[in-house]
């Protein structure tokens, strides 16, 4: 498992990155933690003649929490998410989810930016970002722009990001209420058989708002508006949970693979979501 030959660049500013992307077009890719990209290159499923390392670019690091908005630089690793006390206070679902990604070795390297930009339906952060209604900040030859996480994913490995754009940060309003990230996987280091991200807020014993997103159950993450809606106004009782699960099942479209046939995945998705809702509600 040896990748094809490539040129390696380590620019020190974003202009340099974008210039390289413009120069080489399709033949260039940025590398962040490399833990999705390098395996693909070694399998020769990704051919990247020009590899642009983002490690030396300033301004892509750090977690900032200001005025209720959480901003995470693209190069922040999953390990940093887990170890940030402010993050745990502002958006505890981030830690709960990050702990279920891969293993410590991968999490030391893998970045939030790489995880959301990658476009692999197996990645956990995209669904999580949709649940949190995050914004993705991109920069490119034509300047900066912002895209909703819920509008970013088009198909497997296909996103709204242009080839010459770089994702610089993700941001979201610090969530309120209860949360849960529930993931079923075959073993440590595995992508989800089914995973659910849930945020619920409570008012007067009833669900005030709910946001639900599912991972690895379609060729993109699935934010299920109707599943969330099914909970709003209810006391999150069994019937409401069931309604939310039913609504979610209408939105996902899993395919058979080594993790199991479609019927199993749909069942597991329902169970995982039910548990996530119950846990989130208990924390709301």
């Amino acid at each position: 498992m040896i990748p094809a030959a490539f040129e390696y660049y380590r620019p020190t500013d974003m202009a340099g990155v974008i210039a390289l992307l413009q120069e080489h077009g399709d033949d260039a890719r940025v590398i962040a933690g490399g833990h999705s990209l390098i395996p693909m290159m070694k399998l020769r499923m990704a051919d990247v003649p020009h590899l642009i390392d983002l490690q030396a670019i300033k301004g892509l690091n750090g977690i900032a929490i200001t005025d209720g908005t959480v901003t995470i630089g693209a190069m922040v690793t999953q390990h940093e998410i887990i170890n940030s006390a402010e993050m745990e206070k502002a958006a505890p679902i981030m830690k709960e989810a990050a702990l279920q990604i891969a293993d410590p070795q991968v999490r030391y390297m893998g970045t939030v930016g790489g995880n959301v930009a990658n476009g692999d339906p197996g990645n956990d952060m995209p669904g999580l970002m949709q649940c949190l209604n995050a914004q993705f900040h991109l920069t490119g030859p034509d300047g900066d722009r912002t895209v909703d996480a819920r509008d970013f994913y088009e198909a497997a490995y296909m996103t709204d990001r242009e080839d010459e754009e770089v994702l610089t940060a993700v941001s979201f309003a610090a969530p309120v209420g209860g949360f849960a990230y529930e993931k079923q996987k075959r073993k440590i280091g595995d992508y989800a058989t089914a995973a659910a991200a849930v945020q619920i807020s409570k008012e007067g014993g009833k669900v005030a708002a709910a946001s639900i997103a599912m991972t690895n159950l379609s060729d993109t993450p699935v934010w299920s508006d109707s599943a969330g809606a099914a909970l709003v106004g209810t006391a999150c009782d069994d019937a409401a949970v069931k309604a939310a699960v039913t609504a979610m099942l209408g939105d996902i479209d899993p395919t058979e693979d080594n993790r199991g046939p479609v019927a199993f995945k749909r069942h597991a998705a329902g169970i995982v979501l039910g548990r996530a809702i119950t846990r989130a509600w208990s924390r709301a």
């Binding site: 498992m1 293993d103 075959r186 073993k187 058989t193 199991g260 199993f264 069942h267």
Partner: protein
């Protein structure tokens, strides 16, 4: 007198038998100081890499190497055409079949070796692989052995005569072009008669899925042909270096004394490194052709896709019993999927290994076993993955049949085992399928195990859980997995065990140095078992020198005596016995030297821990250290100088380790996720050489058993594509998935082994797989489950629950 050290202190100082001596290997392994094949770097060395077939069955219309050869750094691209003049485009397998080294006209499995690129470094080699153009014409693919036996598609055209007739194979007549052999043991008619007239009969079909040993270190070799002196040196991942030397000599025509085979440190073998692979042959040929050393090391995907798999047995059983549960007969038929070439690593006369140990630990009066080997478009292999030859299959079979019979009898499976155990006083016991079990005390072990886990209490808890489930109070069911296994290891007596004609003896050569330290060399090779630690302990006790003063060397055919290598738990039963016997030869000479030095008759001295003492006057003695010195510095009348011995040990019988395992498991029926609450393993491996090493072996073997039972498989789709070729899908458990293991033991020494040891490395795997599987199946027994096939991964467990209506 001059000796103030107590006898106990002297015994402890030896670090001999029974001592939990720390592994001497670990200092280097834990510091990254091991020396593996891929660590070998020789001046001018080139690197080889394979072009492999993307198809499972295709004809090769053409191979164009021009673009690859044009790449700077590429020295050669070998194809079957280049190997043919040397007669090396095919090679013999250990099972009496032959196998393509490089695709000769067609490919028969995905990942098959098509061309061998030799280049200045592995990066260039990998690029050149991409540039070799192969034009394939796809053929119909057969991945199902039952369909294969019905199909018109001939997989092995080389095995059909021109007139269309089917010549005999290495193991007799073949019924179909895709059929390899039929192998039978026992009496079919008598067995059928008993079963047909029995009170109770249970039948079951089970598939023991294809899996892979997946050692952490993949396979590889470095060949260095010195054209000046005509000597070939071959380093490689070999579990049997001496056999490799013989095969290399026979294949290449290079005289055996001009070949040196070295197995350096080996990062796990588990049977995967017994066979001879095309990569080894190609590295040799490439070194001969280029005149410089050539290295070949496969990557993980290549290892999983092309080197020897394990299992892939379709087993059909019938077991009969009286109403009281006494088993009266057993019938077993196996359809064995061997892939594209029969490359099983079994003793020559045993094409299905020791599958005929499938009567297990039970006194079964009559039995029959028939095995049909079949070709399919899958990778060749069929090795013993952490077990003696096909013993995991046999034990899985009988331990499932017992459970199924218990269901049929509506009886507790623990009790059913007790009723049928071979009794202590029946040993040596000749089983219906021919083996003579050397020793055992099954009931004692079983009772100890059941008591340790409070078996009755567990059953009561399980019954409560079933009720709670039915009342809708829980979605978790509880399984109690039982297994009682008997292994057959230590192959084996030369009269019936050989590999490629080489009798399966083993050997040990000892040299005692003048200062009382020693080096011992054996025909085996450690792959993590800790031979350097434990063999020194055997010798320490036998010859009275501290294990710390004994170096163990293996794996270099220029220095080690000929032996058949390490697999099938044979090292301690065979080479360990050779070590003890060689030690006894040393001791015999030492006795004469001691008598001379003490000026008494030979018979007037006796061995005592680390010395010879004059009988009745223990203060008169000579230590082994003193004796060793005397052997080199004195002229002793009637004795040659020096203190050396060699022993070639032909074991009179196999050894039969056994054990009793219990697993307690909780299963979430909605997600199919199993949780192992408890795992208790009692092993009886006879005399215990190093309890700590035994415990380590048991932990490792159980972990591989967990892997196989709960998810580890090599799966193919209908087109013969391997679906599990990376560690993302091929299940290798980490510390996270592994439960806490409780180990226990009884000791029933082997009556024929010099020190009574039986071998232990494979027992936990053999006994563990059915135990984990039985736990899953037992959880669903109260809901109507009889049998479901492994691997019990989440979705298959969920499927079981679903089929039983537990999601309604």
């Amino acid at each position: 007198m001059k000796d103030e050290v107590t006898r106990e202190e002297r015994v402890a100082g030896l670090k001999g038998l029974g001592c939990s001596r720390k592994r001497v290997e670990d200092a280097r392994f834990t510091q990254g100081k091991g020396n593996y094949v891929d660590d070998i770097k020789l001046p001018g060395m080139l690197h080889g890499d394979f072009v492999r077939s993307p198809y499972a069955h295709a004809r090769i219309k053409s191979i164009n190497i021009d673009a690859a050869m044009a790449l700077p750094g590429v020295t050669a691209v070998l194809t079957a055409k280049d190997l043919e003049p040397l007669g090396l485009h095919w090679m013999p397998t250990l099972a009496g079949d032959k196998q393509m080294v490089l695709a000769d006209g067609k490919v028969l499995f995905q990942g098959q070796e098509v061309a061998f690129v030799v280049a200045s470094d592995r990066y260039v080699a990998a690029d050149a692989v991409e540039l070799v153009e192969v034009d394939y014409e796809e053929l119909e693919v057969i991945v199902d052995p039952f369909k294969s036996l019905q199909s018109d598609v001939v997989l092995r055209e080389d095995l059909v005569a021109e007139d269309g007739s089917i010549p005999n194979g290495a193991h007799g007549p073949r019924k179909h072009p895709n059929h390899i052999f039929t192998w039978e043991a026992g009496e079919e008619e008598a067995t059928n008669q008993v079963i047909d007239n029995a009170d109770v009969v249970a039948t079951e079909e089970m598939y023991y899925h294809r899996t892979h040993p997946c050692p952490l270190e993949t396979c590889g070799s470095v060949a260095s042909m010195d054209k000046v002196n005509g000597k070939l040196t071959l380093w490689g991942t070999f579990q049997a270096p001496h056999v490799v030397r013989t095969v290399a000599s026979l294949l290449s025509g290079i005289e055996e004394h001009n070949i040196r085979v070295v197995s350096p440190d080996i990062g796990g073998g588990f049977g995967n490194k017994v066979g001879v692979y095309p990569g080894y042959v190609c590295s040799i040929v490439a070194s001969i052709v280029t005149g410089v050393p050539v290295k070949w090391v496969e990557d993980r995907m290549e290892n999983l896709m092309s080197t020897a798999f394990a299992r892939d047995y379709w087993m059909k059983g019938k077991i009969s019993a009286t109403k009281e549960g006494k088993i009266t007969g057993l019938h077993c038929h196996v359809t064995a999927d061997h892939g594209a070439f029969d490359a099983c690593a079994d003793p020559t006369k045993f094409p299905a290994g020791f599958m005929n140990i499938c009567t297990g630990s039970y006194d079964i009066p009559v039995a029959y076993l028939g095995v049909d080997g079949v070709y399919t478009n899958k990778a060749p292999g069929g090795v013993s993955y952490r077990c003696s030859f096909r013993v995991t299959e046999a034990v899985y079979f009988i331990e499932r049949m017992i459970e199924v019979l218990a269901i049929e009898l509506n009886m507790d499976p623990a009790e059913l085992r007790s009723i049928n155990f071979i009794k202590k006083e029946q040993f040596p016991y000749t089983a219906a399928l021919g083996w003579e079990y050397d020793s055992g005390d099954y009931q004692t072990a079983w009772d100890k195990a059941l008591l340790a886990v409070d078996y009755k209490g567990l059953r009561a808890e399980q019954a409560e859980r079933v009720e709670a489930f039915k009342r809708g109070e829980t979605r978790k069911v509880m399984g109690i997995g039982l297994s009682f296994f008997t292994e057959i290891v230590g192959a084996g007596p030369v009269k019936n065990c050989d590999i490629l004609g080489m009798g399966m003896f083993d050997s040990c050569e000892i040299r005692i140095h003048p200062t009382g330290s020693a080096v011992a060399r054996l025909g085996t090779i450690s792959q993590g078992q800790g031979h350097a630690t434990t063999f020194a302990q055997i010798l320490a006790t036998e010859i009275g020198l501290s294990a710390e003063s004994i170096t163990i060397e293996e794996g270099d055919t220029d220095t080690a005596p000929y032996g058949l290598g390490t697999y099938g738990s044979r090292s301690t039963p065979v080479a360990g016995a050779a070590a003890a016997m060689a030690g006894r030869k040393i001791r015999a000479k030492a006795q004469m030297i001691a008598a001379y030095l003490l000026e008494v008759h030979d018979n007037d001295v006796e061995f005592d821990v680390d010395r010879f003492v004059v009988k009745g006057t223990p203060e008169q003695f000579k230590t082994m250290k003193e004796i060793a010195y005397a052997a080199y510095n004195q002229a002793i009348p009637g004795l040659e100088p020096g203190l050396e011995a060699v022993s070639y040990y032909d074991p009179p019988n196999m050894t039969y380790p056994f054990g009793a395992y219990v697993c307690v498991m909780d299963i979430d029926v909605d997600t199919g996720v199993p949780e192992i609450r408890r795992f208790y393993a009692l092993d009886d491996c006879g005399t215990r050489i190093n309890p700590m090493v035994i415990e380590g072996q048991i932990h490792g073997g159980l972990t591989e058993a967990l892997a196989v039972a709960l998810g580890q498989e090599i799966a193919y789709d209908d087109m013969g594509n391997v679906k599990t070729a990376t560690l993302m899908d091929f299940f290798l458990p980490t510390a996270w998935e592994v439960p806490n293991y409780e180990t226990d033991f009884t000791v029933t020494p082997s009556p024929h082994h010099p020190i009574g040891a039986k071998g232990v490395g494979e027992s936990p795997h053999v006994g563990g797989v059915p135990c984990f599987s039985n736990a899953v199946q037992d959880a669903f027994r109260p809901f109507g489950n009889r049998h479901t096939n492994m691997p019990h991964d989440h979705w298959r467990i969920w499927q079981t629950a679903n089929n039983l209506g537990m999601h309604d």
